[in-house]
C-alpha cells in the first residue's frame, strides 16, 4: 500500500470511529450551511468573507444551536471551518471540526463523554481534571483569579518571556503564561475547566462562583484539542456579550460585526439546557498518527 493511501485510510478510519461513537449513543449527525450572512463578533476570530454571499463559518455553533432550539435533540457535525490569518504548525485557515451537543448535560458530563472519545481514538488513559485556577497555582504558584496585570507581567519576566506589543491586559497575559509555561506540560490527557469569566465566550457563568465560567478545554501531548461549554441559554446575556465584543472590536480598530438576529431569536425561543464542544479533527488525527504538524 502506498504511504499516501495508508495515510488516507488512517484518516477515514478515524472519521468512521467518530461516527460509530456517536451512532452508538444516538447522537444524530447533521449538516448545516457553511456560508452565513453574519460574521462572528468574537474579538479574536476573523471570518473569511465570501463577496455577495456572506461569510464562511468559523464554527457551526450558531447553526447547530438553531437546530437545538427547534427541538433536534442530541446532534453532532463533522465539517470544514475557516478562520482568516491562522497559519502555523497547528493552524490552517481551513480545518475540520467535530462539534457536538448533548441536551441535559452540563460541562462535567460532557467531559466524561469526551474522555471516552479520546480513549477510543487515541488509546490513551483516563484524563485528569484541573481547574484553571489549580493549574496556575500548581505550575506557576499564581492565582489567576486574583492576580493583577502587573503580577502577571512580573511572572512573565521571571519566566524569561520577552513580550513585544502585548499591553497590560490581564487575559492576554494569562494566555501568554498558559501557552508558554502550562500547555507544554500538559502531556497526559488533561481537562482544564472553570475558565475566568472574562474568557467565558459562550459558556454559562458558574452559579457558585461568578468569577469563573463553565467552560473547559482538553489538552493532549501539550496540544489544545477541544473547547467546550455548559452553554449559555439566556438571550439577554448573549446579546450583552455580543455588544461587549463589538465594543472591544472598536477599541482594537477591528471591524464591528452585525449581530446574528436569527441566533438570538433561537435563544429567545428557548435553547434547551445543554453542553457542547468543538474538537479540532486535524489535530486529533495528527496525534493519532504521531505527527508533529497538521499539514
Amino acid at each position: 500500500m502506498s504511504p499516501a493511501r495508508k495515510s488516507l485510510q488512517q484518516h477515514a478510519t478515524i472519521l468512521n470511529t467518530l461516527r460509530e461513537f456517536f451512532n452508538a449513543r444516538e447522537v444524530l449527525e447533521v449538516s448545516t450551511p457553511i456560508i452565513s450572512p453574519y460574521a462572528v463578533t468574537d474579538v479574536f476570530l476573523e471570518s473569511i468573507a465570501v463577496p455577495h454571499y456572506g461569510y464562511l463559518q468559523t464554527s457551526p455553533e450558531y447553526a447547530m444551536k438553531k437546530l437545538l432550539a427547534d427541538g433536534s435533540g442530541d446532534i453532532f457535525q463533522l465539517c470544514k471551518c475557516f478562520r482568516a490569518d491562522e497559519c502555523g504548525r497547528l493552524h490552517k485557515p481551513e480545518f475540520t471540526m467535530l462539534e457536538w451537543y448533548r441536551v441535559g448535560f452540563d460541562h462535567h458530563q460532557l467531559m466524561d463523554e469526551m474522555d471516552g472519545l479520546l480513549q477510543t481514538v487515541l488509546h490513551c488513559g483516563v484524563a485528569q481534571r484541573l481547574t484553571y485556577q489549580q493549574v496556575f497555582q500548581h505550575m506557576l504558584s499564581l492565582d489567576p483569579l486574583v492576580a493583577t496585570a502587573d503580577d502577571l507581567n512580573a511572572t512573565c519576566k521571571q519566566q524569561q518571556i520577552d513580550l513585544v506589543g502585548v499591553e497590560n491586559d490581564k487575559d492576554d497575559l494569562l494566555n501568554v503564561l498558559f501557552s508558554h509555561c502550562i500547555e507544554p506540560q500538559l502531556q497526559q490527557p488533561t481537562f482544564i475547566y472553570d475558565y475566568p469569566a472574562s474568557q467565558a465566550a459562550l459558556a454559562k457563568l458558574n452559579p457558585d462562583d461568578s468569577r469563573v465560567a463553565q467552560r473547559f478545554e482538553v489538552f493532549v501531548k501539550g496540544i489544545e484539542l477541544a473547547n467546550g461549554f455548559h452553554e449559555l441559554t439566556d438571550a439577554k446575556e448573549q446579546l450583552q456579550r455580543f455588544e461587549q465584543d463589538n465594543q472591544l472590536r472598536k477599541q482594537k480598530s477591528l471591524p464591528q460585526r452585525d449581530i446574528d438576529s436569527d441566533f438570538l431569536a433561537a435563544l429567545e425561543k428557548g435553547l434547551p439546557n445543554c453542553a457542547g464542544v468543538a474538537l479540532g479533527v486535524d489535530r486529533l488525527i495528527m496525534l493519532a498518527s504521531n505527527k508533529t504538524s497538521i499539514i
Partner: protein, 187 residues
C-alpha cells in the same frame, strides 16, 4: 525600509530589533482557543550571533533589515581589514575584525565565502562547511602508524590549529569541517 507584520514572519526573514539586524530562525504561531494570537519567535542577532526568543502580539509590525547575502572571493588582508571581491562586478569590500571574527581561521586567498551585508557594510563572513588547507607545521609523521588512532596538533596555512592523525606529514593538504574545526580527511 518596508515593515513586516507578524503574519509575514517566517524562517530567514531579516528584521530590525532594538536597532540591530536580526534573522528569524524559527516562528511559531500560538493561538489560544478563545484569545489573543501571538508569534513566538527565535531570532539570531546578525552582529553578535546570539539567539534570543521573543513573543510578539499578532498584528505587530517590525522594520525590515536591509540585509543581503552574497558570495565573494577573499583577496588579502592588510592587517586591519580583510578584502573581498564580487566575482561578477569586481567590486571590492572590506571586512573589519568583528565581521571576520573566528572565521579568520578559515580565510584563504582566492577561496569564495558567503558574506552578509547590512546597509552595504560587511557584518559577517561564513566559510563553506568544508575547506581544504595545507599543513605548514607539525611534528614529523610516524610512518606506518595509521591504526593507533592517536592525534597531534597541526598548524594550517591560515593559522588555524587542528588535530590530525599521527601519520599526517607536513605540506599535506587536508579537508577540515569549519563548523567543528575538526580534521575530516586528506584532500
Amino acid at each position: 525600509m518596508a515593515n513586516y507584520s507578524t503574519n509575514q514572519f517566517k524562517q530567514g526573514l531579516k528584521i530590525m530589533l532594538d536597532g540591530q539586524p536580526c534573522n528569524i530562525v524559527e516562528n511559531e504561531f500560538v493561538k489560544p482557543g478563545k484569545g489573543q494570537a501571538f508569534s513566538r519567535v527565535k531570532i539570531r542577532n546578525l552582529l553578535n550571533g546570539r539567539v534570543i526568543e521573543k513573543t510578539f502580539k499578532s498584528g505587530e509590525s517590525v522594520e525590515a533589515a536591509d540585509v543581503m547575502e552574497l558570495d565573494m572571493q577573499y583577496l588579502y588582508s592588510d592587517g586591519e581589514h580583510w578584502h573581498f571581491m564580487n566575482e561578477t562586478t569586481f567590486e571590492q569590500l572590506a571586512a573589519n575584525e568583528a565581521a571576520v571574527a573566528d572565521n579568520i581561521n578559515w580565510l584563504k586567498e582566492q577561496n569564495v565565502y558567503t558574506v552578509t551585508l547590512w546597509n552595504g557594510e560587511m557584518i559577517s563572513v561564513t566559510p563553506p562547511n568544508f575547506v581544504e588547507l595545507k599543513i605548514v607545521e607539525t611534528d614529523p609523521g610516524v610512518r606506518g602508524d595509521t591504526a593507533s588512532g592517536g592525534t597531534k596538533p597541526a598548524k594550517l596555512e591560515t593559522g588555524a590549529v587542528v588535530n590530525v592523525p599521527l601519520f599526517m606529514p607536513q605540506d599535506e593538504i587536508i579537508k577540515v569541517d569549519t563548523r567543528s574545526g575538526e580534521y575530516v580527511s586528506r584532500a
